[in-house]
């Protein structure tokens, strides 16, 4: 029985703990400075908006941990001593380990803007950040959000729910266009404005201006425009939360450097989740993976290794999802913001400008590369299989209805997509066949 200590009770650390428990009888201790219990970071926005309370964001009931002999410690690790195999807690002593897993997550980026430390200037990552946002946005009338990514738009939606006027500064030409292709990005631009958010594209933050009490009073944009506001949300990305490891001999660059087994340079020390940086990134993948799903997969995989079955990280086809105000987004496979050299696509958009489907395939082999969905839900298992089997776009289009995952009675768009295909491939006409919906009950 080994003594395993995990720093971080986020999705990566907790998944590791749960899976180690499933596979073994090791002693497991999870340390976190943030909250007593695991909660869903992705649900932070809903707490602020009053859709849920903190209680509801905990995926497991509180008795779960004791029942599964997962020991929870609340505390901040101030340093790690890899020679003596100990972690030091701020104020509350030290904990020894045989194996140390670092799942310490991220922190919001701050790029050295003047005034970024003022009261009323907040990133949004942790539960404590949320508490501050709650305090600083009480009875205010105008907020500015800096940084047009997924967390930025969530923060905008949050503030709207409290009837706070929002100005949204986005450095790029169009919302999240480093990831989204132009049409989807433009769709979200429109949707943001439909919600009466003042979207400022190609606008950067230059400075945050203080009032006499050290609280934000205004911001100044790159063009020198001053905007009065009582709150500034900094959502220009996140980076690994590893400052406390600076003095240890664990190798860190932007994140904690690991190989495909999540091993750091120090034996028995591993890193997973947002804070891990792959020495050699997997093909088509980033060196640091900052999403919920990858954190979970890291944890599942590492648990195997720790329990004796050394397992390399090998994720399947990429997928992700998000929600931009009212428009849901799903992606399967890798869709770049612009087609690559040998790629071609079929793009369909609903006339109301709120639904779109983009199917990208290899121009010469015609094999499916990925599907981007706005305002439409598709089945993960079906497309995952298609991607792994490398099926041709023709078969994708003819079977597209099987991938649809929208609720019953929703309008289906697959026939329209087939029409686009048919006009693009005049020599290869496809016919709509498969049924779905209520009548399908009696046919399948």
């Amino acid at each position: 029985m080994k003594n395993i200590v995990i720093i971080g009770n986020g999705i990566s650390g907790i998944t590791a703990a749960r899976n180690i428990r499933k596979l073994s009888d090791h002693k497991i201790t999870v340390i976190s400075a943030e909250t007593d219990h695991f909660f869903s970071r992705t649900a932070l926005m809903y707490i602020y908006m009053g859709h849920m309370k903190y209680e509801h964001t905990k995926p497991y009931e509180d008795w779960f941990w004791e029942k599964n002999k997962i020991n929870l410690v609340r505390g901040l690790v101030s340093s790690v001593d890899t020679f003596q195999k100990k972690v030091h807690l701020k104020n509350t002593g030290e904990i020894e380990y045989d194996i140390l897993i670092l799942g310490v997550g991220s922190k919001p980026n701050k790029f050295g803007w003047p005034g970024q430390g003022l009261n009323g200037v907040q990133g949004m990552y942790s539960y404590q950040n949320l508490e501050n946002i709650e305090i600083y946005t009480k009875n205010i009338d105008h907020a500015v959000i800096v940084g047009g990514g997924l967390i930025g738009i969530e923060l905008a939606e949050m503030l709207l729910s409290r009837n706070i006027r929002v100005t949204f500064l986005v450095r790029e030409k169009s919302f999240w266009n480093i990831i989204l292709p132009p049409e989807e990005s433009e769709m979200i631009n429109r949707h943001i404005r439909e919600h009466h958010i003042d979207l400022r594209l190609e606008t950067e933050l230059k400075e945050i201006v203080s009032d006499n009490d050290g609280r934000v009073r205004a911001i100044i944009t790159g063009d020198g425009e001053e905007m009065l506001c009582q709150f500034v949300g900094l959502t220009a990305g996140v980076s690994p939360n590893i400052d406390f490891l600076k003095d240890s001999n664990i190798n860190v660059q932007r994140g904690i450097v690991v190989n495909k087994y999540f091993e750091t340079n120090i034996p028995d020390v591993y890193a997973i989740g947002d804070c891990a940086q792959f020495e050699t990134p997997l093909p088509d993948r980033r060196p640091i993976e900052q999403v919920w799903y990858t954190g979970r997969m890291h944890g599942e995989t590492l648990a195997r290794t720790i329990c004796g079955e050394k397992t390399a990280y090998k994720p399947g086809p990429w997928f992700n999802s998000a929600k931009f105000l009212d428009i849901e987004y799903q992606v399967y496979g890798i869709i770049n913001n612009h087609l690559k050299e040998d790629e071609d696509q079929i793009y369909w958009e609903h006339e109301n400008g709120k639904h779109a489907i983009r199917i990208v395939y290899n121009e010469s082999t015609l094999k499916l590369i990925g599907i981007n969905l706005m305002g439409v839900r598709y089945r993960h298992d079906v497309i995952d299989r298609w991607l792994k089997d490398g099926i041709e776009v023709k078969n994708v289009i003819s079977n597209l209805k099987k991938a649809n995952f929208d609720p019953e009675f929703y309008k289906e768009y697959e026939d329209e997509i087939m029409n686009i295909y048919n006009s693009k491939f005049p020599n290869d006409q496809l016919n709509s066949t498969s049924k779905r919906g209520l009548l399908a009950v009696f046919t399948n």
């Binding site: 999705i11 869903s40 992705t42 649900a43 809903y46 908006m49 009053g50 859709h51 849920m52 309370k53 509801h56 964001t57 905990k58 995926p59 009931e61 729910s161 009837n163 949707h191 439909e194 919600h195 919920w292 799903y293 979970r296 997969m297 599942e300 995989t301 195997r304 397992t311 390399a312 990280y313 090998k314 994720p315 399947g316 086809p317 997928f319 999802s321 998000a322 929600k323 105000l325 009212d326 849901e328 799903q330 839900r377 598709y378 089945r379 993960h380 298992d381 995952d384 995952f405 929208d406 609720p407 019953e408 009675f409 929703y410 309008k411 009950v441 399948n444």
Partner: protein, 593 residues
């Protein structure tokens, strides 16, 4: 959100609501001879006329005082009748004495004619009853005088006790009498202008509600908007929620047990009732109207709130139509035609009195239509429930057709997040709901036993007492008072989740033999918890979703809200082959394993 409209709407609604509640105190009450005459004919009504003299012409400002006096009046009428018809207790000893004259104590009915000759109304009744009660004693020989006296005293006591319900007003008809006299005795501004007050109460509430909805939804893009739900006092068990719960609980208690205090509301219904069935309203008409109105108005809110979601729109239209047509209008029309006023969509054992003798008798005496209704009811139980549930899950009933479900999905929608999601609650739920199912079956078995054998005692237990307990505990207290009154405290499906025996039956089919399931979408779940939070049945949907397991639960009513609120498109209600329904939990995406 358009604040002008929401504020105005709320204001108008509150005015209407206060008029509605205030209308309960808006009448004066005065009894008249005509009112008593209208109640019926016979000895007891004559006695009532006599005892009500002191109330005649007196104007009461409050219904409480009026009802108190009225109750006393009815009691006095009963007492005078009892006094008139009671047999004197001395008679027992006298008869024994007479029978003992030749020292044998042989009982003979001829002694009755001797000592209690039938000369007038009262003595005729007494003479006849005593003969009826003692017929079996004829010629019987008693060893002592005391033994005979004791036997006779018992009989006389029984006879005297029976007067109160044979000649006088029994407690049930006394209750109805209080209600109908109070209603008829109302005077004043309300009664004179029923349509005006109908507008000022219901009219304003409806206008206010729609204005509020317009303000809430008109200038906001469609989408999931549960903003502030857990900060609002009404939807988060704050003081307003508690106040609303208390109001609804009080309403149910008055409706079921003291409707005589609600006669002004029933009066307001008269214009509508006359239009619909040609007669005056009862308190059950009031209830039906309120229920249907709540489902309709809050159903429209539901449709506006989920206007981007076709499943929700169609489902809500369905519950509104079933409630309006099947539960409200059709039974009223049937009643007006003097036919059995049944609700064609109500299914045993939720329809707990389907097998009660009065229902069976009524149906069997109503010709072809009655027999059809009987067959229809049986077919629903035996064929419709298993077959339709096999294809679509129990949702076809619970969230598309049922009245209780209809109210829960419309009026109750703002409270769905208050259901308890803990494992413990699930355990309690299973114990309770199956207990109620067993209770319902026992109750039905007992009444059928009585129906077929005529015997009121089954294994030493009185079938009437089983029936009475079921009626009080389950149908009044659980379904109404707790089931609806606790919406703002325990969520909108308290009854459906913990109590409904039909839901238990549907659930067993759904769990073990159905094509219905909620499919989870590969590895897309982010464990946010929206699905579990908004599950009115308290199912911890996330627990399944985050491990990639289909949701196959007996309690799921298929409302589809988990799927609607999921921000990542993880959940889909589906009917499909049984084969892969109970799937091996799998999260797609990690090929390392």
């Amino acid at each position: 959100m358009n604040k002008y409209f929401t504020f105005t709407g709320l204001g108008i609604f509150i005015i209407g609501f206060f008029v509605f509640v205030g209308s309960l105190t808006m009448s004066d009450y005065q009894l008249s001879e005509i009112i008593i005459k209208d109640q019926g004919e016979g000895e007891k009504y004559t006695a009532l006329m006599e005892s009500s003299k002191s109330m005649m012409g007196v104007t009461y400002q409050s219904n409480i005082a009026f009802i108190n006096d009225l109750r006393t009046t009815i009691e006095n009428a009963n007492n005078s009748i009892i006094e008139k018809y009671s047999i004197s207790m001395d008679l027992a000893a006298k008869i024994s004495e007479r029978a003992g004259e030749d020292e044998k104590f042989i009982y003979k009915q001829s002694i009755i004619d001797e000592l209690l000759p039938a000369v007038d109304e009262a003595s005729t009744y007494q003479n006849k009853s005593l003969k009826d009660y003692t017929g079996w004693m004829e010629g019987k020989k008693y060893s002592t005088k005391e033994a005979l006296t004791k036997e006779l005293t018992g009989s006389i006591q029984s006879i005297n006790n029976a007067i109160s319900y044979q000649i006088a007003f029994d407690s049930y008809s006394a209750k109805n009498l209080v209600f109908s006299i109070t209603k008829a005795s109302s005077l004043g501004i309300l009664k004179g202008n029923l349509k005006l007050w109908l507008f000022l109460s219901f009219g304003l509430m409806i206008i206010g509600a729609f204005t509020y909805f317009y303000g809430t939804y008109s200038d906001v893009p469609a989408g999931i908007k549960n903003n502030q739900i857990f900060m609002d006092a009404i939807t988060n068990k704050g003081w307003l929620g508690v106040a609303l719960g208390t109001f609804m609980i009080a309403f149910y208690i008055f409706l079921y047990f003291y409707p005589e205090y609600l006669t002004n509301w029933v009066l307001l219904m008269d214009p509508i009732s006359y239009k619909l069935n040609g007669g005056p309203a009862s308190h059950w008409f009031l209830y039906g109207f309120l229920y249907t109105l709540a489902v309709g108005v809050m159903g429209i809110r539901m449709i506006l709130k989920y206007r981007h979601n076709t499943y929700q729109i169609i489902r809500t239209i369905s519950v509104i139509l079933f409630q309006t047509a099947f539960a409200f209008i059709i039974p009223e029309i049937l009643a007006a035609l003097n036919k059995p006023a049944i609700d064609f969509k109500n299914i045993w054992p939720l329809d707990y009195d389907f097998f009660y003798s009065y229902n069976l008798n009524e149906l069997m005496e109503s010709g072809f239509l009655g027999w059809f209704m009987l067959g229809w009811g049986l077919a629903l139980i035996i064929i419709a429930v298993p077959v339709i549930t096999y294809f679509f899950g129990k949702r076809w009933y619970c969230s598309w057709v049922c009245g209780c479900g209809g109210l829960a999905e419309t009026l109750g929608d703002p409270f769905r997040q208050l259901s308890n999601k803990s494992l413990k609650a699930w355990k309690i739920e299973r114990w309770m709901i199956y207990s109620v199912l067993i209770f319902a079956i026992i109750n039905t078995g007992a009444v059928l036993y009585t129906f077929f054998t005529g015997s009121y005692s089954l294994l030493g237990i009185s079938t009437e007492s089983i029936k009475t307990s079921y009626g009080f505990l389950i149908s009044s207290m659980f379904t109404g008072v707790i089931g609806t009154g606790f919406y703002p405290l325990m969520g909108n499906r308290v009854w459906c989740r913990f109590g409904c025996p039909l839901a238990a039956y549907l659930g067993i089919v759904q769990r073990f033999k159905s094509r219905f399931r909620i499919t989870t979408n590969g590895g897309q779940c982010i464990s946010c918890g929206n699905c579990s939070t908004y599950c009115e049945m308290g199912i911890d949907v996330r627990w399944y979703a985050q491990r990639g397991q289909n949701i196959v639960r007996s309690s799921c009513v298929g409302c589809g809200i988990c799927s609607a609120v999921c921000p990542r498109g993880v959940l889909r209600l589906e009917n499909g082959p049984e084969k892969d329904r109970l799937n091996v939990p799998e999260l797609i995406g990690n090929e390392s394993l």
